[in-house]
């Protein structure tokens, strides 16, 4: 009989090795899935993981890696701070939308004035939009004990309705021939989130993501607040005893994750996406949850996980167009990654024993 025995100490080796094991298991089982669908498994895996980086058109795909990775990392960093403290913000998608609407709204309000101040103002507005949207579940939780998972998730759907209303109403492009959607910010220099080095994919959102990684790393490792987050997640009573105010911590965690998601939305709408449209959001807020866990809720881990996730997105797209793999199969493939990660995670705290069952003292 196989059983799991709790380790006296969490294993450092396995906590580092599980993401690699999970990626490998995903390749094996994903390959199996593709084989069942009648595709060459090896070629499919190579297409997903190799083509975007070193293939013939890598010059095009590499910048995409940064463009897709940045919002994932930015959002996941914020989520991880909350997850570490046991505060479950599931509604980053909504906060991402609100950040985009607020950011774009401020930019469009100044149209067609040109000024250096417009873009920084948009950044502030985007951060505020996301922060405000995440603070709703935070206040409800602190005041009335509501479940932040449900409230933040439901607010995603509210935000989507708001997005639709904005692209059809207030923010609609007056010169857009009646099509839904706002003016394109890429054609408004003061509000455009351009590549810092042309063609590199390195826009201001990438810079913000890097700063967030460093900020979160220092916060968690060196700052009282990061310590409060970690203790609260490990042992809430001990945290209280250590002087942590749980309500303030909930407000902080949800607030900062909303803020970062809002920033991600703002950088996206003013850069790669360019405009507010009904289908502006593509699920970064939800995928970031996977990224946060894939990165072990560790800032550096999240950076790599975000890039890996972006890779499967881009590689998945290539596989769809070149090998005619169905989009659903790619999603299953991405889901597998989280599944295997959580499954292998057990090995960090437990070891596998083969033998008779017994209750140790």
């Amino acid at each position: 009989m196989i059983r799991f025995e709790k380790r006296p100490q969490p294993s450092r080796l396995f906590s580092l090795a599980t993401p690699l094991l999970a990626v490998m298991a995903t390749m094996v089982f994903g390959g199996f899935l593709f084989a069942v669908l009648g595709k060459d498994p090896v070629q499919s895996i190579v297409t997903i993981f190799w083509e975007p980086l070193f293939g013939e058109f890598a010059f095009y795909y590499r910048p995409q890696l940064l463009i897709k990775g940045a919002p994932l990392v930015l959002i996941a960093i914020g989520l991880a701070l909350g997850f570490k403290a046991g505060v479950w913000n599931i509604g980053a998608e909504g906060q991402y939308i609100m950040g985009a609407i607020f950011g774009a709204g401020v930019g469009l309000a100044f149209y067609p004035t040109e000024s250096l101040w417009i873009f920084p103002l948009m950044i502030l507005a985007g951060a505020f939009g996301g922060w405000m949207w995440a603070t709703i579940p935070a206040i409800l939780k602190v005041k009335f004990g509501t479940n932040e998972i449900l409230v933040s998730l439901m607010l995603v759907y509210v935000a989507e309705q708001f997005l639709a209303s904005m692209s059809l109403g207030l923010l609609k492009n007056p010169e857009g021939f009646g099509f839904p959607g706002s003016r394109n910010l890429q054609q408004y220099a003061s509000a455009h989130n351009t590549d810092i080095i042309a063609g590199s994919g390195m826009h201001w959102g990438v810079v913000a993501a890097l700063i967030a990684v460093i900020f979160a790393y220092v916060l968690l490792a060196r700052h009282r607040l990061g310590f409060a987050i970690r203790v609260t997640g490990e042992a809430p009573r001990a945290a209280r005893f250590g002087g942590v105010n749980p309500s303030r911590l909930v407000l902080f965690c949800l607030g900062i994750s909303g803020m970062l998601a809002g920033l991600a939305g703002m950088f996206e709408v003013s850069g790669p996406a360019g405009q507010i449209t009904i289908d502006f959001n593509v699920g970064y807020g939800f995928t970031a949850i996977i990224v946060a866990f894939l990165g072990r809720l560790h800032p550096i881990g999240i950076m790599f996980a975000g890039l890996l996730m972006a890779l499967t997105y881009i590689g998945g797209d290539i596989a769809q167009s070149q090998l005619q793999l169905p989009a659903a199969a790619i999603q299953v493939f991405q889901g597998m990654l989280l599944f295997f990660l959580l499954a292998f995670d057990l090995l960090t705290n437990y070891r596998v024993r083969i033998g008779s069952s017994e209750v140790p003292t």
Binding site: P8, Q9, P10, R222, H223, R224, L225, F227, R230, V231, E234, A235, R237, A238, A239, R240, F241, G242, G243, N245, S356, E358, V359, P360, T361
Partner: protein, 505 residues
């Protein structure tokens, strides 16, 4: 002597890195109360778990009623006539007594029939208990009765009791002993685990003493002094802590009608607690678990806030101060629950040193944490309090209970508290570590600090406190000088006079 009811021969059980039981043999006769004595980690639990079918021995054999006895799980053990009352109850607070008992039965009879049987057994054995009451409303002593009756309904030949008196008042202990004596008279054998030596001397016929997994001796407790038994348990001569005997100074902490609503449905409110604590004195607070000890500590540590005017520290109202603000001015505390409250289980000792030491030890500056200073602090605690651990980087949960307790107490003592509040300082700690902790508390008082020691171990309180008060149902009795108090007086102060009938033998 006739053939024994249960005999164990050469039982050995090893776990990775430790031999929990090494060639243990013992015999229990019908109608015998047999004490199993030993410090924490001596192997008592492993031994009874083997008898109760929870653990399989590596080698050796057991005989019950002259037949080979190899229980493969607790159910087979129960079917063979072995019952066990655990130290920690497995009861559902929201269900009635009868429902709880029915849940643990193989084929429970109809509820009305079961209730009748519960009444019958409880009357027979002098364990007054109504089957319709909700378990959450019962005292710890009454909850224990539920567990005992659950066993008795199976008509056991051997009853194993793990530390049964740790949660009882002296009066409840007397009731329990009457019941056990009656069972003995009927021929039931009882294996009685405890480390309270006086109890064993009054109750038990024989005692087997375990140390580090081996049987180190047997004795007739009535003919052996408690000190001799303790030294057999520990293997060395015990040092008795020295009293401070210093004159109490000015009042540093004053509680005035401290009242708090209960934190949860089964929580205990605090009701009008008043006391004043002087420099250099130790106030011992006794009482059965669940009578407001946690709540009292929480209101002093700052985890729960009382209203303005209820808590005064050095003539200053501290009602709205949080835990760290109180630490800063010298009011420190150590809660009962080591894992999860006093310390975060999965975090290292360094991080746990940071948990309460940041403010007073200057481990933080402008919000940034100084981990190397925290490491030094953790190492200082480990050294000063003889904490056994490979290094300060080990997780708190990897330490044994006694070692972690030394760490938790040491962490606060080394921060030079002016008032130190501690709940259950030596709970589950072996005798020599307990003596060290008590000595540290006495030394702290001698150096001029004021201490409140909350404990359920009355011997401990009598040994170290200058004054004694009792918590009962969230009320605190008037503190009295500890010297000269008799067990009866203490019992009355504890007020836990729940159903003082004893068995009708």
């Amino acid at each position: 002597m006739t053939t024994p009811l249960l005999s164990l021969r050469g039982l050995t059980k090893a776990y990775p890195g430790v031999v929990a039981n090494d060639d243990v043999s013992l015999e229990i006769g019908r109608g015998e109360i047999h004490a199993l004595l030993g410090e924490n980690g001596a192997g008592k639990s492993t031994l009874v778990k083997m008898i109760y079918g929870l653990v399989k021995p590596d080698s050796g054999n057991m005989q019950l009623n002259e037949a080979v006895f190899t229980p493969k799980d607790p159910r087979t053990a129960r079917a063979s006539g072995v019952g066990m009352v655990f130290q920690h109850f497995s009861l559902f607070d929201a269900l009635t007594v009868a429902e709880n008992i029915a849940l643990g039965m193989e084929d429970a009879p109809a509820m009305s029939q079961l209730a009748a049987r519960i009444r019958e057994v409880s009357e027979n054995y002098g364990l007054p208990l109504s089957p319709d009451r909700i378990v959450g409303d019962l005292s710890a002593g009454e909850q224990q009765r539920v567990e005992i009756i659950r066993c008795l309904l199976q008509d056991p030949k051997l009853l194993i009791m793990d530390e049964p008196t740790s949660v009882l008042t002296p009066q409840e202990v007397a009731v329990l002993f009457e019941t056990l004596n009656k069972l003995r008279a009927e021929g039931t054998a009882i294996l009685y685990i405890s480390h309270k030596l006086e109890e064993i001397r009054t109750l038990c016929d024989t005692a087997t003493i375990l140390r580090l997994g081996k049987v180190v001796g047997t004795c007739v407790p009535a003919d052996t002094t408690a000190r001799d038994m303790a030294e057999m348990m520990v293997g060395t001569t015990l040092k008795t802590p020295k009293r401070s005997g210093s004159e109490p100074g000015e009042v540093v902490l004053k509680l005035d009608q401290l009242s708090l609503p209960p934190a949860s449905a089964f929580g205990m409110p605090l009701r009008e607690i008043s006391l004043s604590l002087r420099k250099g004195e130790i106030l011992g607070i006794g009482g059965v678990a669940g009578n407001g000890q946690d709540e009292l500590l929480g209101s002093l540590s700052g985890e729960t806030r009382a209203s303005v005017g209820m808590i005064e520290y050095k003539s200053r109202d501290i009602a709205d101060m949080g835990p760290n603000e109180r630490r800063k001015i010298g009011l420190l505390s150590a809660p009962e629950e080591r894992l999860g409250h006093a310390a975060a289980p999965d975090m290292s000792l360094v991080e746990n040193a940071m948990l309460t030491g940041a403010t007073r030890e200057g481990l933080e500056k402008g919000g940034m944490l100084n981990w190397s200073a925290a490491g030094d602090f953790a190492n200082r605690i480990i050294e000063a309090f003889d904490v056994r651990t490979p290094s300060a980087a080990n997780a708190a949960r990897s330490l044994s209970g006694g070692n972690l307790q030394k760490f938790v107490i040491g962490r606060e003592v080394l921060q030079r508290p002016e008032v130190f509040v501690v709940n259950q300082p030596t709970w589950g700690v072996d005798a020599s570590a307990a003596a060290a902790i008590r000595q540290a508390l006495l030394d702290l008082a001698k150096s001029g600090a004021a201490l409140i020691v909350i404990s359920q171990d009355l011997d401990e309180l009598m040994e170290i406190s200058d004054r004694f008060a009792a918590l009962n149902e969230g009320r605190l009795s008037q503190p009295r000088p500890a010297i000269g108090l008799t067990v009866e007086e203490i019992g009355l102060m504890l007020g836990g006079a729940h159903d003082l009938e004893t068995a009708h033998v």
